[in-house]
């Protein structure tokens, strides 16, 4: 009966430990930056900036985390994001409807997920090649669509469906003639109770999405010119956080989520445990593709324009974020909350490097590399020490 001595709590798994480290490091780093660099770090806006700028990355990293937990890899995510941005921008510029553009984004993402997932799981092709080809294809398609930047024209007149939406205003207490679809207007209306939130959504057009923000005034600061700058969060961030929560729940409590872990832990075992390995793997890529699509749309909401070079290198950032957050490329281990903090860490590093005033350009990337290096080695050492401690504890017993 050597193992029956029950602990009240199970020890942290490696992934949980890495996640905890990631969170701690993030806090230490951030608080350190607050003490040393002050400036922007003392403003809550800084955190919101990071979130606003990286909502797409967060979403993509979540998808990648799922794939990595399942023991796979998807390096097409950045390119798919880019393609979605370009396609949606073109679509909107040619008079497309906002809702349809969302469907388009999801459709493209899903399309990639479905095809890549099918090739990888049902035809048994190495994921790296399939998604590399996917990446090439998406990049190529982006430039085939347009090599010129596509700035979404948010002038309401171009938005065919807006007129129809104006019609919907009849049901509200607002005069359609004076109605202006700028965000301020909408939020004001919502706040003043003249319009319900759902009506606001119904009356949404791309501009409301693009310029829409959730503003938290008391968290803001006052600029030298006397303007109050509220901390603001773009809608994309809400979507990103929602993704994190949903996927967290999926991974933790859903049958499928647990299936991803089993698959990544040991594929043959998963098969013999009665898990539909092919379908599970397939779904991991489908979800990842879907998230890339969503990420693309969020990206578009952030920049309002399609560019051939959008999201270049995003896949590497996403992989790095996942790993820093405690996901292993070898599969079976990972955590989406950790991934979220991975993204935060990566970008805090960037902020610190810029803020520190290291102007010699090569220093910036070398410092980034150095911090990454330090971080990765720290992780490895912690895991090593932990396994040692665990061993010696067994020995002592």
């Amino acid at each position: 009966m050597k193992n029956t001595k029950t602990f009240r709590r199970e020890p942290l798994t490696d992934s949980q430990l890495l996640m905890t480290i990631a969170i701690c490091i993030f806090l230490v780093m951030y608080v350190g930056a607050m003490l040393i660099f002050k400036g922007g770090f003392l403003r809550a806006n800084q955190i919101f900036d990071i979130l606003n700028d990286n909502a797409p990355l967060i979403i993509v990293s979540c998808g990648l985390t799922i794939v990595m937990i399942g023991g796979g890899i998807d390096i097409s995510v950045g390119a798919v994001t880019s393609l979605v941005v370009m396609a949606c921008a073109l679509f909107l510029n040619n008079g497309g409807n906002v809702y349809l553009s969302m469907l388009l984004a999801i459709g493209i993402g899903l399309g990639f997920g479905l095809v890549q997932g099918f090739l990888i799981s049902y035809l048994d092709i190495q994921p790296f090649i399939v998604t590399l080809a996917g990446m090439f294809f998406a990049r190529g398609m982006t430039t085939i669509l347009s090599v010129d930047p596509q700035k979404v024209n948010i002038d309401p007149i171009h938005n065919l469906f807006e007129t129809i939406h104006r019609g919907a205003l009849v049901n509200t207490s607002i005069d359609p003639q004076t109605f202006n679809t700028s965000t301020e207007n909408l939020t004001e209306l919502v706040r003043d109770g003249k319009m319900t939130f759902f009506e606001a959504i119904k009356n949404m057009n791309f501009r409301t999405l693009l310029e829409g923000k959730i503003k938290i005034d008391w968290l803001g600061y006052t600029a030298p010119n006397g303007n109050r700058i509220p901390a603001s969060m773009e809608y994309g961030v809400v979507i990103a956080l929602l993704c994190v929560v949903v996927i967290f729940l999926l991974l933790k409590f859903h049958k499928l989520g647990r299936g991803f872990y089993a698959l990544g832990g040991n594929q043959t075992s998963a098969l013999m445990l009665g898990i539909n390995v092919k379908r599970t793997r397939f779904l991991s890529y489908v979800i990842c593709g879907l998230l890339s699509g969503i990420s693309g749309y969020v990206f578009l909401l952030h920049t309002g324009a399609g560019n051939a070079t959008n999201a270049v290198g995003m896949e590497m950032n996403a992989i790095a974020a996942s790993i820093i957050g405690g996901t292993l490329l070898s599969g079976g281990v990972g955590n989406v909350v950790g991934t979220f903090f991975g993204v935060m860490i990566l970008n805090t590093i960037k902020k610190i490097v810029v803020t520190s005033g290291l102007n010699a350009p090569w220093w910036q990337s070398v410092t980034t590399g150095g911090m990454l290096c330090f971080f990765i080695i720290l992780q490895s050492v912690v895991i090593f020490i932990r396994s040692k401690v665990r061993r010696s504890r067994i020995s002592k017993k």
């Binding site: 050597k2 933790k252 049958k255 832990g265 040991n266 043959t268 445990l273 067994i394 020995s395």
Partner: protein, 499 residues
Amino acid sequence: MADHALLEMRHINKLFPGVKALSDVDFTLRKGEIHALMGENGAGKSTLIKVLTGVYQNDGGEIRVEGKNISIRSPQDAQNNGISTVYQEITLCPNLTVAENMFIGREKDVFVHNRRREKRANELLGELGIPARGSQMLGNCSLAVQQMVAIARAVDMNCKVLILDEPTSSLDDKEVNVLFGLMRDLKARGVGIIFVTHFLEQVYEVCDRITVLRNGELVGEYLTEELPQVQLVAKMIGKDLDEISSFGEVEEKEFSDADIFYEAKKLSSSDALPFDFEIHKGEVNGFTGLLGSGRSESVRAIFGADKVNGGTVKINGKHVKITKPIDAMKNGIGYLAEDRKRDGIIADLSVRENIILALQVMKGFFKPISRSESEAFADEYIKVLNIKTASRETPIGSLSGGNQQKVILARWLLTHPDYLILDEPTRGIDVGTKLEIQKLVLKLAEDGVAVTFISSEIEEMLRTCSRLIVMRDRRIVGELKGSDLNQAQVMKTIAGGES
């Protein structure tokens, strides 16, 4: 007969590249019986089972459950048809908890109720006396516990057919008895059980019927009471056991201190507590003890497989330092590890490459063994050890478990060690081969090789070893030789003062 047949397999064929693993095999399982599936290593037992459970697709033949023709495409199909399985190699996910491993893949609920699951798991584990908690990571459990968890999982399914492929190879007697109790319970409830093992006594203890396979072909189906052990063996290996089992008593050899080949004082490693140990040239000794008593850890320390923490080692009277496997190998020590899958085979490499590996390492990086030489070595040992493989270039991963073991054995024999450590070399090995290996050990000893032999079967050790070291709770608690070497005495020492 067909009306109370629970499961019928007819004309089952299975072809692997280069091997006909099953040809036209019939198998029938009735309600409420325990049916042993017997055969030499590589006879096709595991393959038959994998066909039945949908891991492999059959290349012809049909499967009927309760008279209905069914097609089984995947383990999931098998589960849905009431067939639950414990595979030969442990097939659970080390990165999931014990509870998850027990329930994943067969719950209807879309959402997982961890609490409920763990509670249920803990109850079951308690019932079966498995020392694990539901919330524990499976990877942190010992091999034996993992095996028991796999059994618990299979048993808990409300199955009609339960398949156990060598479940007992890493269990000790107590656990085996628990398992047998369970099997009898299930049998009483009308479950049909297929049981694969190489332990003949176990067959006679619980089984009602025996089906024998040889070389992928059906030899026949027999009632246990009508088939004496000797005949069973003869049917399995195609000749009488007597022909091969003709070896006498272990001779009493006297060893002088001058003959000491290896001597360790206060040797300890990251996993083993300090211990003293010595072995003479030409001596066969054994480590025995309960599961987890630290036998493997001790010999791993000798070989330098784990990080060595302290102690002095003398070989042939000279002080040497052994901290890494290569040190040990250079000093003439060979070690056949107990976990073949993890520490033994290089799955994708050919049988030939697997055989020459250790020798190559000893020769060094810059002196590769030529192709023709290595082919000669491989052919020689395939013949000597009667390894069943399509060719010497077959990847070792596709060999049957027992044959993989033989390849690894060949690897170490090829290095012509002065001291060979065999940790459970007979695990998963058929009776015939077991005897061959025992004979081989004795022959090695005759040639002056020191051998340490570890086995869970005490009889086997009594047959081969002239000295037994007994371990309990990771400490050496006794040493038996001469007239003390008998089952009762060993059991008593293992159990310790309490008995």
